[in-house]
């Protein structure tokens, strides 16, 4: 294949968020289809799944493939793109009968509480029903096609991405409506005679033929943009004629084939009656998934820990003996660019996976075997105050000593972590290090309240009949929970390290990693094993506030106003003091004042039995989503801009350690531009964080504080959330330092 063909075929856009969205939709459909195919195998055969996925794949090709890249240069490419959007993708998606699979694939409470009222709203049902009346759908589709092919409008779409988006959205939407009566996806039913669909399709073909004919026979270039951009010696008029032929011939086939198929089906009189399923499989008949079987495997956690232990050892060795420049050193890249970003994304989209694979567990296990600790952790330290202070110190040290820029300090931090875990768990029983000390663990515990997965019991009934309580006491084969989380009373992920001890020790196989509604327990505030109620724990609330406001302070440290301010004070010695003052202001004083103010303002309307402490502790947790979103947006920036920087570092290691003939390509560590999807994704993350925070505040205000007038309780806290959102947006729109990159 020549270089031009290779370049042309390599012109894929492949935006990460778009790929992720397509995969999410495919997964939601699959989840729903898998459930439905067990109940209604005749209505949802495998072909439905394949047709829907094929439709999605072709939609992806229309939007992200070289077709899109060449659509502004070649009218032919643009025409193929339009044909896919209007005549191929919509019928395929509808043949997949997507309504029920997607509804069944979405979280049930979201469908019931969120979508349910809209699905039952008579006005909206009537409106949507009217849109798929054949003559309405036909008119919308064909008028849209004619309208957007007028030269002035087509040119407008070519000049402006926004109008281009609108044009394609119109094509796609009206095509979905047009093909709806033709495909009539189950379980919708039409009251129109199917014979009417034959003139319906033939008339649409006539419109299509008229437009295609104007392309072929006009004798002049209709769209001047293509006249200015000829490619490969092809004359604009030839390009236009070819586009017309594509629209004419394949376009007509897409109308005539279904018209013929419908006519033949009607003449044969085939009609398959739908029967309700006679038998629904019970949950016990469903085999446990691969993930659950892996988690029950005795060596699951050691296997994951070993991988992370090797990575930690490599970071330490390279940090101490490798190059001093952080972008060239594994200790300057792996922990600060990749690990931090991936931990936050894992917490928000799965669960506390890092604690599950934590490498610091290995010295803890060794300490327990060697030293056999007997003491209990001191009573006065059995809270999260120490952990909150340690996390604050970490944030200060990170900025004051530029930890990210010093591989040697990074290596010593990892060593210090191993030593601390060994010493504390060698002295004290239980998982004292994890529960009361580890700042990484506290960060993970706090954010895992928002995770969609939780280690929990499958059936409370099974627990009620259990006499041995192996999940907390352990047995001869497996220890019980070291963090004193009794599974039947456990709610949410707080303090859960996903260690799998309970999963493996339960003799009834009743503990598993299961999906949950994120943040649900923040609203309901149940009694939690080993923790009590969150509203009675000001230490947990303080930890949450440090993590939330720390997200903004940590990101603020990367932007110009901060660096300008710090640079006014000369001398290396001054930096830690200035940073300490700013941190005390931003993470301690401001949050304390803000929370105090909101508590005072909301207290009069919060019901008679609410103390100030309980109000502050309760609402502090509702700010968690906006803080998590800020962490995610900030760390995603480093992950996206520096993702490839690991490659030259690995090449250097392979070259120097194994003498492999590879030369590091350091240009990968100096990425000269930001991915164009990054800022929109960051804003969307903050949007999601704000919306979830506002929802939590509203639900807490309504369900737990003041059912009749929740707005009075909501307003102060909602304003605080909006202020945080505004600060977050301002930070994200400022130019940021590309830490860990060579150009920094």
């Amino acid at each position: 294949m020549n270089s031009i063909a290779v370049a042309a075929l390599g012109s894929w856009t492949l935006d990460v968020p778009v790929v992720a969205l397509f995969l999410t939709i495919a997964a939601i459909y699959f989840r729903g289809w898998r459930r439905l195919t067990k109940l209604l195998p005749r209505q949802f055969p495998t072909s439905c799944l394949l047709l829907f996925w094929l439709g999605l794949a072709l939609l992806f090709i229309a939007l992200e493939s070289p077709l899109d890249a060449f659509s502004s240069l070649l009218l032919q490419a643009h025409m193929v793109q339009h044909l896919l959007l209007m005549m191929v993708v919509p019928p395929l998606l509808l043949l997949g009968q997507p309504m029920l699979p997607i509804l069944r694939g979405l979280p049930r409470p979201f469908v019931k509480e969120g979508l349910g009222p809209f699905l039952r709203w008579p006005a909206l049902r009537g409106f949507s029903g009217a849109l798929v009346i054949p003559w309405v759908a036909w008119l919308l589709y064909n008028l849209t096609t004619v309208f957007w092919h007028l030269p002035a409008l087509y040119e407008l779409a070519l000049r402006s991405p926004a109008w281009h988006n609108l044009e394609h959205a119109c094509f796609f939407w009206t095509a979905m409506l047009f093909w709806w009566p033709v495909v009539q996806p189950w379980p919708s039913r039409s009251r129109w005679n199917r014979w009417g669909l034959i003139p319906y399709l033939l008339a649409a073909d006539l419109v299509n033929t008229a437009i295609a004919g104007s392309f072929v026979f006009s004798g002049k270039v209709l769209y001047p943009s293509y006249a200015a951009a000829p490619l490969g010696g092809l004359s604009p008029l030839t390009d236009q004629m070819a586009a017309g032929v594509i629209m004419w011939v394949p376009g007509s086939i897409f109308y005539l084939v279904p018209a013929t198929a419908i006519a033949m089906k009607l003449m044969n009189g085939s009609r398959t009656a739908w029967r309700f399923p006679t038998r629904i499989p019970s949950p016990k008949e469903q085999t446990p998934g691969l993930v659950h079987r892996f988690l029950r495997w005795r060596y699951a956690r050691p296997a994951m820990q070993s991988v992370f232990f090797i990575a930690a050892a490599a970071v330490v060795i390279d940090g101490l003996y490798g190059p001093r420049m952080s972008p060239m050193n594994l200790a300057g890249v792996l922990p600060w660019i990749h690990w931090r970003g991936l931990v936050v994304l894992a917490l928000l989209f799965a669960g506390n996976l890092f604690c599950m694979a934590c490498p610091f567990m290995l010295p803890r296990t060794a300490a327990r075997k060697l030293l056999r600790p007997k003491r209990r952790w001191p009573a006065f330290l059995r809270s999260k105050w120490l952990a909150a202070a340690l996390f604050l110190i970490y944030l200060w040290a990170y900025e004051a000593f530029s930890l990210w820029d010093s591989p040697a300090i990074t290596a010593w931090i990892v060593i210090g972590y191993f030593l601390a875990a060994f010493a504390i768990d060698g002295l004290f029983r239980g998982a004292s290090f994890c529960k009361y000390v580890c700042p990484i663990g506290q960060f993970n515990f706090v954010h895992s309240l928002l995770s969609p997965l939780e280690i929990k019991v499958r059936s409370q009934k099974t627990c009620q009949s259990c006499k041995t309580f192996d999940c907390i006491r352990g047995n001869e084969k497996q220890r019980g929970c070291e963090l004193y989380l009794f599974q039947p009373k456990k709610a949410g992920n707080f303090d859960c390290t996903f260690c799998l001890d309970c999963v493996q020790s339960c003799p009834h196989d009743n503990v598993a990693l299961l999906p949950v509604i994120p943040a649900q327990t923040i609203i309901s505030n149940p009694y939690r094993s080993s923790l009590g109620r969150l509203s009675n724990r000001p230490d947990l609330a303080a930890l949450v506030l440090v993590v939330v406001f720390g997200a903004f302070a940590n990101a603020f440290g990367m932007i110009q106003p901060f660096t300008d301010f710090v640079s006014r004070f000369s001398g290396v010695a001054a930096r830690p003091i200035i940073v300490a003052a700013l941190m005390a202001f931003g993470i301690v004083l401001i949050p304390a004042l803000a929370v105090w103010g909101c508590t005072i303002l909301s207290e009069p309307s919060s019901g008679p039995n609410q103390s100030l402490r309980a109000i502050a502790s309760t609402f502090a947790f509702s700010l968690l989503p906006i803080g998590a979103a800020m962490w995610a947006a900030h760390l995603l920036y480093h992950l996206a801009t520096g993702f490839l920087s690991i490659l030259p570092v690995m090449e250097r290691l392979l070259h120097s350690l194994l003498r492999l003939p590879v030369q590091p390509n350091w240009s990968l560590a100096a990425m000269p531009f930001l991915p164009h999807w990054l800022t929109p994704t960051q804003i969307l993350l903050l949007d999601a964080g704000l919306l979830l925070t506002l929802y939590l505040i509203w639900r807490i205000a309504r369900d737990r504080m003041n059912r009749s007038r929740p707005a009075r309780v909501f307003l102060p806290w909602g304003s605080l959330a909006l202020a945080l959102y505004g600060i977050g947006i301002w930070i994200l729109l400022e130019p940021m330092q590309m830490r860990g990159m060579m150009m920094n």
Binding site: I4, T13, A69, G129, R159, H164, F172, A228
Partner: protein, 187 residues
């Protein structure tokens, strides 16, 4: 109508999801032609996006073609210089930054509006050639307006939530109205 088209709403919800994916991505590539000139054996076309060009991040893409056969040239080193008064910007144009791999794309940040002199410099097989032209840059919106659709998500979601709560309240009221009176006894 509704009874005959039951679950049609479910379908529209599904389609909404699809349209949500599809709509933001349906964008143009390359932009509009700024100028097209021949230098030696190469024809240089400069594309600019957004159209019209505005201050802020811009996509300036270069297409190189052989003068005789109009074949795309892929093995050159291309850079752009942009001048306006004392201001001087240089940007490397590469295939890596282009979606369409036949183009060489540069992504400069244009700081001020007005007329800018653009020079496209092409190095190929040891020969240097360059073409120049003028592009007009209009004032751009501030960043916060540039990303306005993404900020719209919040008020739209809040509006939908308010509507959801209103519908639930209405349904609850309807259920109360339709419920049998308390003194009613089934016989």
């Amino acid at each position: 109508m509704c009874s005959k088209h039951r679950n049609c709403w479910g379908g529209l919800v599904a389609l909404t999801l699809l349209a949500f994916v599809a709509s933001p991505q349906l964008c143009a590539d390359g932009g509009s032609v700024q100028f097209r000139q021949q230098t030696g054996s190469i024809v240089v076309t400069l594309f600019g996006s957004p159209s019209p060009l505005r201050t802020g991040p811009a996509d300036l893409s270069v297409l190189l073609e052989t003068a005789g056969g109009n074949q795309p040239v892929l093995d050159a080193d291309v850079s752009l210089t942009l001048r306006q008064g004392e201001t001087h910007l240089t940007a490397a144009a590469t295939h890596a930054q282009a979606t369409n791999k036949l183009l060489y794309a540069a992504l400069p940040d244009l700081p001020t509006p007005g007329q800018w002199q653009v020079t496209v410099m092409v190095e190929r097989a040891g020969t240097h050639s360059e073409v120049g032209g003028t592009i007009n840059i209009l004032p751009g919106p501030p960043a916060i307006l540039f990303y306005w659709p993404y900020f719209l998500v919040v008020p739209v979601a809040i509006g939908l939530f308010a509507l959801n709560q209103w519908l639930k309240k209405k349904e609850a009221g309807r259920r109360r109205t339709n419920a049998p009176p308390k003194h009613y006894h089934w016989s």
